[in-house]
């Protein structure tokens, strides 16, 4: 029998009794990681519907990275839910217009079409997806798959080549309700009132992946939701997992080992080993598409961080520009940095007026650009300062913690304090690796020290006492290794078991 951490559960063998045990049991987790607690500016459990914006920018790059070709001309009238771009290659990805109106422009970047800009006419309706309806949910799988392939939801495998792998290749589905970032959208808001729809969506997905095991993973902050869902969900074949809200548990690289007890196919995505990881919003979108016939044209986006006057959630059409959402809600005093989805790994939104929210945007974060600290900032008790070290009073008091972009110290040589090693979720030694990359020693040694295991969670940089950007140095090291022609052949997952990849295509 393999050791407990590699043991694979047989989902079908779980009984109702086990289900109860899973939701009341101690939360599972992984070694390393860090729990971000109590930051000021958590999104409240309230939702504002933004309605139809005056224009949207729809990216011609699919969330899977597929380039799409526009099927509409400048000036053409479009309706919300209408197909306006398609992928020319193997994957049948489509792009739907999220508003009704007319094509204003096709934006170019680097000489190639980059996005379609649509001026909206203010009409709130959308084109219903054909064949959808309450009876479709229990209809033949082919109908469901056709509806999903028309719905604009990206990366769900169907028989119509909508994703990297086929529907029959899906071995496992993980429904990811884990919030472990500094700021995350409220799972109770998104899922809490729609548990029945969530259960219905799981039912729909089980019809198209009849042989797949289903796992639902929530963190301990949504413990009661998990319990409710476990009673609402269809019986049998679903396991419920309570996980610690420890960063980066929400990422598929950590969900796969913790939930399924399987190694992650390094250098690839979870889907390449037959595991489909879906967030709650996407699962609900499946329900909306199949049962209500509603195309995936809007997203719930949290407005988090101290930069907003009120930390609400908004329902906005995909493609709404960030400035339209944040401008009326940002504090007038001070300069703020806008970050998409995650303060640890997300990108900075430098031009909010030309950056739209995409199909994978669920959080817009505004943190102060703090170029000055107070007097003697290293001293003082630090009631509102977060730290992995237990050297601040904030650790022992329930006060909200401040988030800002200051470095909180000057860069110094590494003193081997070991913090990066303690938090690293993939158990490598960032402090050791960064020395090699810094001295440009790029050879088998850093491969031996498993540099390619790094999943770019940036936690090592976050905790570094010496303010060294360890994660960037490790990224540089990985890039240099890839440039020298090294391709990771994951020893944990044999390449012949990977799906939806061409073996010529480079990893990393």
């Amino acid at each position: 029998m393999p050791p407990w951490f590699l043991r694979r559960e047989n989902p079908a063998s779980r009984t109702a009794h086990d289900k109860e045990a899973a939701t009341s049991a101690r939360a599972r987790t992984f070694a390393g990681g860090y729990v971000f607690r109590n930051f000021i500016g958590q999104p409240l459990s309230e939702l504002v519907d933004l309605g139809v914006p005056h224009h949207v920018i729809l990216s011609l790059t699919d969330p899977q990275g597929v380039s799409l070709h526009s099927t509409v001309q400048k000036g053409a009238p479009v309706k919300a839910g209408q197909v306006i771009a398609r992928a020319p290659g193997n994957i049948a990805a489509i792009l739907l217009s999220s508003v009704s109106g007319s094509v204003d422009d096709i934006r170019m970047a680097d000489g190639k079409p980059d996005a379609i800009i649509i001026r909206a006419n203010g009409s709130p309706g959308w084109t219903q997806i054909e064949m959808a309806g309450p009876e479709a949910a229990s209809g033949p799988p082919e109908t469901i798959e056709r509806i999903i392939s028309q719905s604009g939801i990206s990366a769900i495998p169907t028989r119509f080549d909508t994703a990297a792998i086929a529907a029959t290749d899906v071995e496992s589905v993980i429904i990811n309700g884990v919030s472990a970032d500094v700021y995350s959208p409220s799972i109770p808001l998104i899922a809490g009132l729609r548990l029945a729809d969530l259960a219905s969506a799981i039912h729909i997905l089980r019809r198209i992946y009849p042989t797949a095991g289903f796992s639902v993973a929530f963190d301990t902050r949504s413990r009661s939701l998990l319990r409710e869902l476990s009673t609402a969900a269809p019986q049998g074949g679903i396991t419920f997992h309570l996980l610690k809200p420890k960063f980066p548990q929400q990422r598929e690289e950590m969900l796969l080992p913790v939930v399924l007890g399987r190694p992650f196919p390094r250098g690839y995505r979870a889907i390449n080993c037959g595991v489909l990881v879906l967030d709650i919003q996407t699962v609900l979108a499946v329900h909306d598409a199949v049962v209500l016939g509603k195309p995936a044209i809007d997203r719930i986006v949290a407005l988090s961080g101290p930069g907003f006057t009120r930390n609400t959630h908004v329902r906005a059409r995909v493609g709404t520009v960030v400035s339209d959402i944040v401008a009326p809600r940002l504090r007038s005093m001070g300069r703020f940095r806008l970050v998409e989805n995650s303060l640890l790994t997300g990108r900075k939104i430098a031009h909010p007026a030309s950056t739209p929210i995409g199909q994978e945007t669920d959080n817009l974060i505004a943190v102060p650009e703090k170029e000055k600290e107070g007097f003697l900032p290293f001293a003082g008790p630090g009631f509102r300062k977060d730290s992995y070290s237990l050297t601040f009073a904030s650790r022992f008091l329930p006060l909200g913690k401040e988030a800002d972009t200051n470095l909180h110290g000057e860069e110094r040589p590494c003193i081997s304090c070991g913090f990066c090693e303690s938090v690293c979720p993939v158990r490598i030694l960032p402090s050791l690796l960064h020395r090699y990359v810094k001295r440009a020693i790029i050879d088998e040694t850093i491969l031996r020290y498993r540099i390619t295991r790094c999943i770019d969670c940036n936690l090592c940089t976050y905790v570094c006492t010496s303010k060294i950007d360890l994660a960037s140095l490790i990224r540089q090291g990985k890039a240099r290794i890839a440039a020298e022609g090294y391709r990771e052949v994951s020893l944990d997952v044999p390449p012949e078991r990977l799906k939806g990849i061409s073996l010529k295509e480079p990893a990393l």
Partner: protein
Amino acid sequence: MNGTTLFKRLGAVKSVRRFAVIFNTLNGILFGARTITAGAPHILDHIEIKRYMALVIIALLPSTVAAIVYFGWYALAMIITSYVCGGIVEVAFALVRKKDIEEGFLVTGLIFPLVLPPTTPLWVVAVGVAFGVFFGKEVFGGTGKNIFNPALVGRLFVTIAFPEMLSASWRAPFTDAITSATPLNLFRAGLPMPPIRDLLFGLTPGSMGELFRIGVIAGGLFLLLTRVSNWRLPLAYLATVAAFSALGNAFAPGKIAPPQIQLLTGGLLFGAFFMATDPVTSPMTAAGKFIGGVMLGIVTLLIRSLSGYSEGVMFSIILMNTFAPLIDHIVLSVKYKPAKR
């Protein structure tokens, strides 16, 4: 005009530009960082080297205050001498390298006088700290690159250079009488030991900082609980000393002192909590810390019991420093086996 711009303007004045690093350092200490993150991660932990080192100083406060209470203003004079002379070397190197003054010195400058006997002449303090900072740290390239604990390099140098001052003349707290008998010497001579209470409060001859052992333990635990120092090495060190001395005492009671005497005499606690845990010079890997701690315990006991010296903490830590890279190398080569071709 606030402080930041004052320092900025001073740095721009031509005649003082060569001292810009000093202004930068002062500015950093007083007003903090003026840099923001370039990209992801957009926020960073609030721990920084200055706070890290400040925490070590706080942990050393009970020992420091006790030293001043026990030995009067002369102890304070030793500490000030150490800071001034070591500081000159540190600043000189910062000016030459044109890099900020490194905060690690604040700890070295305090630890060094605390490991000296209270009878040490001030000029010996000055020579020792300058030697320690120069040869123990700066010649290797500064903090983070040094192999040996700089305070111990200084201590080792003065011990060898001035043996009559550093290992033969001790003084108990609140007395003026010079004695040559630390508790470890008493044990070697087969004389009766002072009571445990006196050892805990440090009312026996010894180095200034190691005496008030309750304060040393409190400071050490504080560092472990705040994660400033790692628990593995001191635990392994003290446990090894306790286990092997219990064993040794059972077989050779005259030669090897029992565990409670071993733990509560000499610099063992001070060394285990404040010197062996120096992250730069101790093994980096978790397993290496255990190995280093066990090695320290064995070497300390060997020197204490079987060598010409009655105290072995300093030598064993220097020896462990020497072996730290090798220990890490072995641990890493076991943990990360070379790929089979």
